[in-house]
């Protein structure tokens, strides 16, 4: 087997605070090929911080440490700022949660997408514009020429998220991190956006890290799942085996998902045990 796309060994992210350090990500190791990896966990379990750490964008006072963190042969731990800038957007990229906040409100959609092009591909203005229109088409926006000129506040949530996807994929990265890409959207458009994301990732043969708290989506969308609790990966399993998970936390999560077919008088709550963090 060829070298995996991404290798992470013993990743730790800590925030120094007034009452001592907070360990947001603890001793996380995994490898990723050109596959879909889901990362599931409740709020505050460190899944978003993990995603940011992979892009070298954890906010300032925090400390990132790992035994190994490499991406397609590049040692990410030794990257200079300049090297990171060439990697981000071009080789690895990220779709963020809410397009309402993650698109720049005073720049047109077209210019924001074309900017990624300018930053990495050294194309002419015309060419960047053409690629942007193609990319808008690829995320199934009907009138790319019109949407090109719109500002983010003129878009619906679903459109905004498609623009986000276009912006992050236009430079054709090999790895995409999707951090709760549909959580801020209407349920009706969630599936549409997921389908677009799915098609693009499949078409381009990219690796995908799908961060979510939605077990159902993750198990149907991903090949493999990491379950995080308190900054730690408590279990790793294949998506289809999620129902037969061994760890009590994962089983708790699965049990707490209500099913449409079975009538239940009481919903199970997730039990937590501090022991798991030891």
């Amino acid at each position: 087997m060829t070298e995996p796309l991404l290798t992470v060994e013993n990743l730790e992210v800590t925030y120094p605070g007034r009452t001592g350090v907070t360990r947001a990500v603890r001793n996380v190791s995994f490898t990723l090929g050109r596959e879909r990896l889901g990362i599931v966990g409740e709020s505050g379990s460190g899944k978003s911080t993990l995603g940011r750490a992979l892009l070298g964008l954890v906010p300032r006072p925090s400390i990132v440490g790992a035994r190994k963190m490499s991406y397609a042969g590049t040692n990410l731990l030794a990257c200079t700022e300049r090297e990171w800038q060439n990697l981000r957007g071009r080789r690895l990229s990220m779709v963020m949660q809410d397009p309402k906040y993650s698109l720049n409100p005073v720049k047109t959609v077209g210019n924001q997408i074309a900017e990624t092009c300018f930053l990495h591909l050294r194309t002419s203005r015309k060419d960047a514009e053409r690629r942007t229109l193609d990319m808008l088409q690829a995320v199934q926006i009907r009138d790319p020429e019109v949407v090109y000129q719109l500002y983010p506040h003129q878009l619906s949530g679903g459109m905004g998220q498609r623009v986000m996807i276009a912006m992050m994929l236009i430079a054709e990265p090999d790895l995409l991190i999707a951090d709760e890409p549909t959580s801020a959207l209407d349920v009706t458009v969630q599936n549409e956006v997921l389908r677009i994301l799915d098609d693009l990732v499949r078409e381009r043969g990219m690796g995908l890290i799908f961060i979510s708290h939605n077990l159902t989506v993750v198990s149907s969308f991903c090949d493999r799942v990491l379950i995080m609790y308190g900054g730690r990966v408590v279990e790793e399993c294949l998506a289809q085996d999620l129902q037969q998970a061994k760890h009590p936390y994962t089983r708790g999560l699965v049990a707490a998902t209500p099913s449409l077919d079975v009538r239940r008088d009481e919903l199970a709550t997730v039990m937590r045990d501090p022991e798991w963090l030891q």
């Binding site: 940011r52 005073v106 900017e115």
Partner: protein, 354 residues
């Protein structure tokens, strides 16, 4: 590509109509605000116990002359008629005669306002050119040494009184070093050489191509302008810093970094365009307050400007001059607000459609 050409046109046409619409709605609000302004100045003139008739005829006049003047000024009419007369006079640019200078107030204002305008404009230009970048850098380097340096320098400008800075500045740069010219707008022997067209000496001398006078006027202007600029710079930098800190914590900044922008690329290309609206407000207010005329700076530098004129008029109960000055200051504020409001629409697309 022909398709992109049409997008551009549609966008531009939409943009122009929205600008036109806002101009009209602003002209309307301008009229309303102006009526409010004149009503206030009119009421002030009614409430002060300075007798306008006495100011006109002098205290040696006979009872007959006094009564005649009383009638001629329309003071026997009901108050709304008097307000009507007042408005009519204002519209024909008649502010009455100044007791102090013996000249029509309008003539005085045309003389003093350009002096203040020149000073305030140069001061604001310097304040913006230095203050905005300083604020952006301080905000982007929050908590590190560039931030501390800029804050200390700014705090100094904010807290040291203008007259002290003026005197010390004159002592060093004029007295000791001789880098700048002294007080006043021009050296005495240059007075009256250039025809007054705008009253702004830099422009008048440039129009005539008289660069000797231009240089002399600039030498007189630069010190008081720099000192006023220091004050507005400190204010602008402080506000810019806090606007930047606010924007830099937004999600779209992280998105910009993920795309491959450098930190400073995200700061200037993404965060900075987003602070334009509050920044324009701050710059506009600071400019308008400088246009009122800075009494202290004008006194220290013997600058024949609006602040000095209004203050002198007030000390001498010269009501016509005070009210005329108030109208000018009020109009300046209305004008600056109007321009700021138009600029908001240029910089923030969210404000264009409404």
């Amino acid at each position: 590509m022909s398709s992109t050409g049409t997008i551009g046109q549609v966008g531009r046409r939409h943009y122009l109509t929205s600008i036109a619409r806002s101009v009209i709605s602003f002209l309307f609000s301008l009229i309303i605000t102006f009526i409010g302004l004149t009503a206030v100045t009119f009421l002030i003139s009614k409430m002060t116990n300075i007798d306008p008739v006495l100011a006109l005829v002098g205290d040696k006049a006979t009872k007959e002359v006094y009564d005649l003047a009383y009638k001629a000024l329309g003071l026997d009419q009901p108050i709304w008629v008097q307000y009507g007369i007042y408005l009519k006079r204002l519209l024909s640019a008649d502010f009455g005669v100044s007791v102090l200078t013996g000249q029509p107030v309008l003539t005085d204002l045309i003389r003093v306002f350009p002096a203040t305008f020149e000073l305030a404009t140069i001061a604001t230009v310097i304040g913006v050119l230095l203050g905005v970048p300083a604020g952006v850098i301080a905000g982007a380097c929050k908590g590190r040494w560039p931030d501390h340096v800029i804050r200390v320098v700014g705090l100094f400008g904010y807290s040291v009184p203008v007259f002290w800075l003026g005197l010390v500045g004159l002592f060093f740069f004029y007295g000791k070093l001789g880098w700048v010219s002294g007080t006043g707008r021009l050296d005495v022997f240059y007075n009256g050489v250039v025809t007054t067209r705008t009253g702004i000496i830099l422009i008048d001398s440039a129009l005539e191509g008289n660069w000797e006078i231009f240089a002399n006027a600039f030498g007189h202007l630069i010190l008081p302008a720099s000192i006023l600029a220091y004050y507005s710079l400190a204010y602008i930098a402080r506000m810019t810093r806090s606007f930047m800190i606010d924007q830099l914590s937004q999600e779209y900044i992280i998105a910009a970094r993920i795309k491959g922008n450098s930190y400073w690329g995200a700061v200037w290309r993404h965060a900075f365009p987003n602070i334009m609206v509050p920044l324009i407000t701050v710059i506009g207010l600071s400019y308008a307050s400088l246009l009122e005329g800075s009494v202290l700076a004008e006194t220290v530098f013997a600058w024949p400007g609006l602040g000095l004129y209004i203050t002198r008029a007030m000390f001498n109960s010269d009501m016509n001059a005070v009210l005329g000055g108030t109208i000018v200051v009020g109009t300046v504020f209305i004008g600056v607000n109007l321009i700021s409001d138009l600029l908001y629409r240029v910089f923030d697309p969210r404000l264009r459609t409404s």
